[in-house]
C-alpha cells in the first residue's frame, strides 16, 4: 500500500470551508437545488458535496429512459396528487405533493432546453408513454445537468463523503466528511444545509448476490446507502414512513426496470400458466391500474403459490417496438440489452422473466424519509431535504426530485434571509470527535491490524435483514419475533463497528457507509415493528397482522432518535387530505 494519505486522525489535513448553502449529494435533486439557489440569488455561495463525481452520480449515472410524472394536457396538479396518493395506498403528504407537482413540468422543460432529447409525437407534443409518462433519450441527462451546475457557478466538491452534520446547538450548520482521494477532512460550515443524498440500497441481501461478480446487481443505485438518512437519525431529525419500503418487480436475474415494458408497451405480467396476473387475479383491486405495491407484489405471490415463474409478455411486440424497447433500456440500464444478448433471448418469442427486487428505502418512490414542511425544512433547524431522502412524497421520480430540489433551495434561502442564522458557533471538540470516529478503521488497522472488513459487516447486515426483516428470499414477509431478532442483532452490529478495519480510503468510505446502513436498518426495523397492520403487501407484509387497519394506522408512523438515551422513539402523525 503506497501511503499517500493519512492513516491516523493526527495526520489528517483539515479543510475549512464556509458557504451559504451546502448541498450534500449532487444527484438530480441536489443539482436542481444548486441551480435554483443560484437562480434565486447569484450572490449566494453554493457548495455541493458529492461522494462520487457530479457528472455520473446518483440514480441517473446510467441514464433514464422516461419521465414518469409529467402533467399533460387534460391533467391537473390535483389529478396527479390524487393518483399518486392512490398508488401509495392512501398515505401521502398532499401538501408536499401539491407544491412539488406545480413545478414538475418546469423542470422537464428546462432539461429539454439544456439539451435533453425528449421524444415528440407528430403533433410536436411530448410522446406519451402512459398517463403521466413521457419518453426521453436520457442517457446523458446527468451530464447535461452537471454542466448547468458548473455554468451557474456552484462550487463542486467531488469525492467528498459526508459523514455527519455540524451542529450549533440544535441547528445544523453544515456538514463534515472526508475526501477519498487525499484523505482530507472537510469541515463545511453553511448558513443552510440541504441533504440530497438519495435513498438506501443494499440494506437487504440481493438475490442476485452470488458472492462473486454480481453483488451489486440490484435495481437501485448501490452507491446510495442511506447516508443522508443516517446523518439525520444521528442528529435527532424526525423520520417518517420508513416501513413503506420500495420493492419492485424487476427483470429476473438482472434487476432491470419493467415499467418500461409494462407501461410503455402494454405488456401484461403473466404467470407460468399464461394468465394475465393483474387482470385475472387482481381485478378487484383495479386490475392493470392497481396500486403500485399490488403490482409489485403480485408476481411474487404467484411464484409463492406455485404459479411461477412469471413474465412480462413481450411476445406480441413488433420488431420496431422491440428495437424501441431496447433503446429505452440503453438509455437507462444499458447492460440489460447485453443480458438479453448473452442468453440469445428473442423477446418476441421468449417473454422476459420477472421477479421482485430486494427492498429499498427510497423517498422518491414511497413516502419514507425526513419529515419535512412545505418549504422542505426538516425538524432540525437549518436542515432541508429533497429527493429520495425526503419523505411524505411518494411517486416523485426524476421530475419530482428535480422539482423538490428547487423547493428546498427556496426554503433554504428563506431561512437564510429570515436572519435566524447570524453567527455560526462550532464546538471544535465535536469536529475532533467526528474525525476520530471517521478514521477509526484506519487506527484499528494500524494498531491491531485485524478486524472486520466493511464487506463482511455489510453481508452480515444484508443477510440479517433479508431473513428477519422481510427480504426477497422471505417473499417480503415478517413478524414481530423476526423483527425483534433483527433489532437484537443490529444492536450487536452497532457495537461491533469499532472492529471495522480499512486498508485504503475506498475501504474507509465503505466502513463509514456500512455504519450508516446499520443506523438506517435499525430505524427501519422499528418502523416495521410499529405498524401493526399490512397496509402495502409486499412493501410491508406483517404475517402477524395480515389485514389493513385504517382505524389505527391511517396515519404516518414517525420516529426520532432520542439523543440522550440513544433510543428510537416512535409516534404517529395524522394524514391530511388536501385533494379529493
Amino acid at each position: 500500500m503506497g501511503k499517500n494519505y493519512p492513516t491516523t486522525p493526527q495526520e489528517v489535513q483539515e479543510m475549512q470551508i464556509e458557504t451559504d448553502i451546502l448541498i450534500i449529494g449532487a444527484g438530480n435533486a441536489g443539482c436542481y437545488a444548486a441551480i435554483e439557489a443560484k437562480r434565486q440569488d447569484p450572490s449566494l455561495r453554493v457548495t455541493l458535496m458529492e461522494k462520487a463525481h457530479i457528472d455520473r452520480s446518483g440514480c441517473l449515472a446510467g441514464g433514464m429512459d422516461a419521465i414518469n410524472t409529467y402533467i399533460k394536457k387534460g391533467e391537473t396538479v390535483d389529478s396527479l396528487v390524487k393518483w399518486s396518493r392512490e398508488q401509495a395506498g392512501g398515505l401521502q403528504r398532499d401538501d408536499l405533493y401539491k407544491t412539488m407537482a406545480e413545478l414538475l413540468n418546469q423542470s422537464i422543460e428546462e432539461w429539454e432546453e439544456w439539451g435533453l432529447p425528449v421524444k415528440k409525437g407528430e403533433n410536436g407534443e411530448y410522446l406519451a408513454r402512459g398517463r403521466w409518462d413521457i419518453a426521453i433519450h436520457g442517457s446523458e441527462m446527468k451530464v447535461i445537468l452537471a454542466e448547468k451546475v458548473r455554468e451557474y457557478g456552484c462550487e463542486i466538491l467531488n469525492r467528498v463523503v459526508a459523514t455527519n452534520f455540524i451542529m450549533d446547538g440544535d441547528r445544523v450548520v453544515g456538514a463534515m466528511g472526508f475526501n477519498i482521494r487525499e484523505g482530507k477532512f472537510y469541515v463545511i460550515k453553511a448558513k443552510a444545509t440541504i441533504v440530497a443524498t438519495g435513498g438506501a440500497g443494499g440494506i437487504y441481501k440481493p438475490y442476485t448476490n452470488d458472492g462473486t461478480d454480481s453483488h451489486h446487481q440490484i435495481w437501485y443505485s448501490p452507491f446510495n446507502v442511506g447516508t443522508g438518512y443516517a446523518m439525520g437519525i444521528r442528529a435527532g431529525a424526525e423520520m417518517t414512513t420508513f416501513e413503506m419500503r420500495w420493492c419492485a418487480v424487476r427483470t429476473k436475474d438482472f434487476n432491470g426496470p419493467i415499467d418500461t415494458i409494462s407501461v410503455g408497451y402494454n405488456a401484461a405480467m403473466i404467470n407460468a400458466r399464461g394468465e394475465k396476473i393483474l387482470a385475472e387475479r387482481y381485478a378487484h383491486l383495479g386490475g392493470d391500474k392497481a396500486p403500485r405495491y399490488i403490482r409489485a407484489n403480485a408476481p411474487m405471490e404467484e411464484w409463492l403459490a406455485g404459479r411461477g415463474p412469471c413474465y412480462v409478455d413481450t411476445t406480441h411486440m413488433t420488431p420496431d417496438q422491440i428495437k424501441d424497447l431496447k433503446t429505452d433500456y440503453l438509455n437507462e440500464r444499458p447492460s440489460f440489452v447485453l443480458f438479453l444478448a448473452s442468453r440469445n433471448q428473442d423477446i418476441s418469442r421468449d417473454p422476459i422473466e420477472i421477479y421482485g427486487s430486494d427492498p429499498y428505502i427510497v423517498g422518491g418512490h414511497t413516502a419514507s424519509g425526513y419529515w419535512i414542511d412545505v418549504k422542505r425544512g426538516t425538524t432540525v433547524p437549518g436542515l432541508f431535504a429533497c429527493g429520495d431522502v425526503a419523505g411524505g412524497t411518494p411517486n416523485k421520480f426524476v421530475g419530482g426530485c428535480a422539482a423538490e430540489g428547487m423547493l428546498s433551495a427556496r426554503g433554504a434561502i428563506d431561512y437564510i434571509k429570515s436572519g435566524m442564522v447570524s453567527r455560526i458557533n462550532v464546538d471544535e471538540s465535536l469536529v475532533e470527535k467526528e474525525k476520530n470516529r471517521v478514521f477509526q478503521p484506519f487506527v484499528r488497522q494500524l494498531n491491531v491490524g485485524d478486524g472486520i472488513t466493511p464487506l463482511e459487516m455489510e453481508e452480515r447486515l444484508q443477510r440479517l435483514m433479508d431473513e428477519y426483516a422481510g427480504g426477497v428470499h422471505q417473499f417480503y414477509r415478517m413478524n414481530r419475533e423476526r423483527l425483534e431478532y433483527a433489532l437484537k442483532n443490529i444492536a450487536i452490529l452497532k457495537e461491533q463497528a469499532k472492529f471495522l478495519v480499512a486498508t485504503d480510503l475506498h475501504e474507509l468510505m465503505r466502513c463509514n457507509e456500512v455504519i450508516d446502513m446499520i443506523d438506517v436498518a435499525e430505524v427501519l426495523c422499528h418502523h416495521l415493528l410499529y405498524r401493526e397492520e399490512t397496509r402495502w403487501p409486499g412493501w410491508q407484509t406483517r404475517m402477524d397482522f395480515p389485514e389493513k387497519n385504517d382505524d389505527k394506522f391511517n396515519c404516518f408512523v414517525n420516529s426520532r432518535k432520542n439523543l440522550e438515551t440513544g433510543n428510537i422513539e416512535m409516534f404517529t402523525r395524522p394524514m391530511e387530505k388536501l385533494v379529493d
Binding site: D55, S139, S214, A341
Partner: protein, 106 residues
C-alpha cells in the same frame, strides 16, 4: 458487472493522477495501477454496470463484461459516443449483431 481494461489501449490517461474512468465511476471502483500506469477495477463485484467508465474512456479501452453467473459468454455491448449521437452495438451470444443509433443530446 466489471469493466474489463484493454491494457494495450489504456494509456492511463497519460499518467494523470485521476484518469477519466477513475474520476467518473460512481462507486469509486476504478483506480490507477501505479506500477503499470493502467486503469484497474478494484472490486468487480461492486460494479453497477452503469457503463459511465466505458462511455468516458477516450481510448475505447474499457468494455463491460457480464458476470458469468448471469449471462453466457461471449456477448458484448459497446457504445460509440459521438458529440450528440450515440451508437450501441450489441453482439449476442451466438454472434447476431444489433445496432442502435440515436441522438442523446440536443
Amino acid at each position: 458487472m466489471p469493466p474489463k481494461v484493454d491494457l494495450q489501449k489504456c494509456d492511463g490517461c497519460k499518467g494523470e493522477k485521476e484518469p477519466l474512468c477513475v474520476a467518473i465511476c460512481p462507486g469509486d471502483l476504478l483506480m490507477l495501477n501505479e506500477e503499470t500506469v493502467k486503469a484497474a477495477c478494484r472490486s468487480t463485484r461492486d460494479c453497477w454496470d452503469c457503463m459511465s467508465c466505458i462511455k468516458v474512456c477516450p481510448q475505447g479501452a474499457l468494455e463491460t463484461k457480464l458476470p458469468y453467473q448471469l449471462g453466457y459468454h461471449p456477448a458484448r455491448l459497446i457504445p460509440l459516443m459521438g458529440g450528440k449521437r450515440v451508437s450501441w452495438t450489441c453482439v449476442s451470444q451466438d454472434g447476431k449483431v444489433e445496432r442502435f443509433n440515436y441522438k442523446n443530446r440536443n
